[in-house]
Symmetry: D2
Subunit: 308 residues, 4 copies
């Protein structure tokens, strides 16, 4: 199994977990959406993140999903979210998924961390709990975690914990953070892979600032693949034209709380999953919002034809 | 002086306060940007909100700015932000600006409010402090204030405090809140004017849901004027086409913290103010970000020509 | 197995989980501290709360601890904390521990709840997930959870969800909340058992206001037993004299973060557990703090003799 | 006028602002409570802090109170709280009160500060705005401000901004912070005056750890004066005996939100102010709480006689 490392690039899609209307896991749809992501050009997947409804699953379900997707993905790398309230759970789940063939684990900081030294110490404890040889993705998503990681403390974490190989970047605003990391590397600090989140809202700027790609779950993953590729190929205008086509829906999908229902609605409409159902207490899209998304999807089709 | 009321509609621009490079108020630019907003079609202005750098001013400066803009605005309504840590200050500033000719005052909830009953009680105290005859705009901006106003408690506030005439709507996600308010009105509750914020990010959907227009400071106010007008005229596709042209910049400008520097940079480049300077501790746009905004502005010009 | 109900009273000690210096569970000490609590007069125990280091355990360990303590406790009721990020985990753990003989489960609100309607809805979902027949303790601890439950919404929760039998009361300030609950009951609302937390800091006032006892883990549980008994027997002065003896240590133990290390230090010194060790990332008491606690313990002994 | 400096020690009482039942400032009581504090042995006073109801006053009232108390205090040092949302207000108020004869100004960090570098930068801006020659008290009160200042960043602030002369210490838990500061000084860092808050709840331990005294508003300031003096004289047991007498009331008064009503109730009962009224939206003590405080005050009298 290939592991992620500090050079990993491309698009890792944050995968949804498909449920049926009763809340049971829809295993056939899990296979189908896995295929869908790779057919759209994804380089890897990330499971059991916030948008994968991980907290709503039992641990047995989480393991079963991990096994199924890894088997389906062939040699493609799968990152698994293992954030948990305690280190024992992180270690247990982390070691289990790595044995199952995961390419790395992702850990977000718990909301109880209040100061830079606490944040730094926490990642030291995580790395110690997991062992040095498990590649770690640091998820930096203050809007959701409530933990603000300054460039300062992030720099010290990068320097002190070499098994942290990747940043899932979704600070907002966050473009300056990408530039700061690349500037520090130009002065000699070790490299870090940076894949960006926030639904792709700033993807063209992010890649231009030095990001290696995207790790987010926008329901048209082909956009993220194409924008990343065009930016790297020097076709910035083409990349921006593509971004602009999808931006109205990206914007709609980044609404906190509502976003996952939008995402599943689009994926179901595109045939990637059978039902847009969320597990409770999540709710599917209401009729008014669905009508708004329908318009946005129609306009994407129309604009795609216009730009060729 | 015309006061705002529950039927007020259109676009109220959240005005910037122009400073020179030393941090002094640039009075000539204040006149110029006032004219600029009205020439772009604004129906009114809102001064001394968060994006007007109000907290960085002395009270004497705030009064002086209010006088100057009201004088310049002729018969156009000017709303003044009077949020303050205590009721005595709210009353003092509120009564002062109304005497100077303001059309209403805007009050955001203080971050210390923790529960629905506390939020309800607070607006009762505000209305009591101001007196019944000053029209109040309730600013609902949880991302910034940290106070989440449920539809439930908002409903009780509307019912109990008739001098609250307008909602500055910038909950996020917030489209359902607009629908809920209009649904309640259809069942008999008194009308509330709803002008939307968030930089215009959802303006077409907001007006479609029943909002009366926008109250935000996007640096191309003509977009907000046109989108509101086209939506109301039934030209939803045209409105969405216009939105799409500006969305890449709207998105860029809604970055918390960074947004005001973007806004002032664009306004300065458009000639509406002499300098993009923010008063300390605010910072002007760094070179990388400025280059990104330049690209976005160029693309707006290009796309505007394409859509005609 | 006896279940808790709306009349449950007395002292439920929040039990510590003893570890050895390597971080392994010390099963012999778990037996010993269980005996210690009941010998001190406890009416029941609560396991796997925040102060039981629950988040640091794997699920298998949590189950094993539950089994061991229930077996050791004979016919005494054991409440189990089952707070978790998702409903599936709450249901799974809740049903498991009830089958193992627990007397009820305790659920704190997740920090993501922002408004009164959200808090109300959450407890509806919890009750639905668990089923109507599992008695629930609602833990109201805003300082730790970040969720402020107004008297208003608490009242609606009591009215709507009859399987919520008990309030673990540790709002701060919180005396008025006890009075409000008892006042509402005097006017006809169903009874709720109220056991108070906060380390016993306000225990005499709480019982006087109508609380049924304590549910907290102060390292001298005999104080809580005696104060509750004396207050109910009408010997308020004696109860206050006793409180005053322990107050300097109670105050010291209620320091957030540090408190558990203090508690385990005292329990180890009293012979109730073999080691004061916390599982990582927790830390044992530093030397300066230990010296301060030594003085406080000596003074308790001295004052106890003085008051007879 | 004597200024505070890095050696300042003793007790600075956080003064209440007396109002009459209509909410008007009671100037006679302001004189009386000023005298009361100094007769109790206070070395100085602090005005316009959170517990002085500063945010409820207009700026004109704040200035008038400052003048009155400075005049009444003779040569005793008066510190003035000048925390404000913006630097312009801090500078304006700071320079004004220094011209009126204040001994220094106190600044708490605004809740918008999220990271260590932001906190460090903020105090740099404050010092720059005030000028180097105004002595600054840094108020470190995370429970109220929401800003957690790590020992790390506090160290850098001390090193970089020499006009910060004093720490108003009320982190909780906070004893380790005092030790860390004194340890750093033993290794060569410049001295900082440390006066402690939190209503005196940990005063004996704080002075033993190296604090220079108290800056808080407990309604029996003679306790703070005596405990500080006895600790410094090496009579630790006597100091702890005194602490224990008042601890039940200290504990009651440290209830957030409720505390100021308790404090004013006690001061009014002791004759230091005419009315316990708070300015709106504050509320006076309800009858049940007042009865509880009555008992606590009676018990203080009784215990004082017992310990002699």
């Amino acid at each position: 199994m290939k592991l992620i490392n500090e050079e990993t690039s491309g698009v890792f899609v944050i995968a949804v977990t498909p449920f049926d209307e009763t809340g049971a896991i829809d295993w056939a749809s899990l296979d189908r959406v896995t295929d869908f992501y790779f057919e759209a050009g994804a380089d890897g997947l990330t499971l059991l993140g916030m948008m994968g409804e991980a907290p709503k699953m039992t641990q047995a379900e989480a393991i079963e999903i991990t096994k199924r997707v890894i088997a389906r993905a062939g040699d493609k790398p799968i990152v698994i979210g293992v954030s948990a309230p305690g280190l024992a759970s992180i270690r247990e789940l982390g070691q289990t998924v790595m044995e199952l063939g995961a390419a790395g684990v992702m850990v977000a900081p718990p909301g109880s961390l209040k100061t830079d030294p606490q944040i730094h110490a926490y990642y030291g404890q995580v790395v110690e709990a997991l062992g040095d040889d498990i590649p770690v993705v640091l998820q930096d998503f203050p809007l959701s975690t409530g933990v603000n990681i300054s460039m300062d403390v992030l720099g010290r974490i990068i320097e002190d914990y070499p098994s942290i190989k990747m940043l899932k970047h979704e600070d907002w605003p966050g473009l300056a953070k990408i530039s700061a990391i690349r500037d520090a590397e130009a002065k000699g600090r070790r490299r870090l892979s940076i894949l960006c989140g926030n639904g792709g809202l700033f993807l063209s700027e992010e890649v231009e600032r030095g990001a290696d790609g995207a790790m987010t779950g926008f329901a048209y993953p082909e956009m993220m693949v194409a924008v990343t590729r065009e930016m790297k190929a020097g076709n910035a205008d083409r990349a921006r034209d593509l971004m602009d086509v999808y931006l109205p829906l990206i914007r709609y999908e980044t609404q906190p709380g509502l976003g996952l229902a939008v995402r599943k609605y689009v994926l179901a409409k595109r045939g990637a999953i059978a039902s847009p159902a969320l597990r409770k207490p999540g709710k599917s899209l209401d009729a008014r919002s669905a009508a708004e998304v329908d318009i946005l999807m129609d306009r994407i089709e129309k604009r795609l034809k216009e730009i060729g």
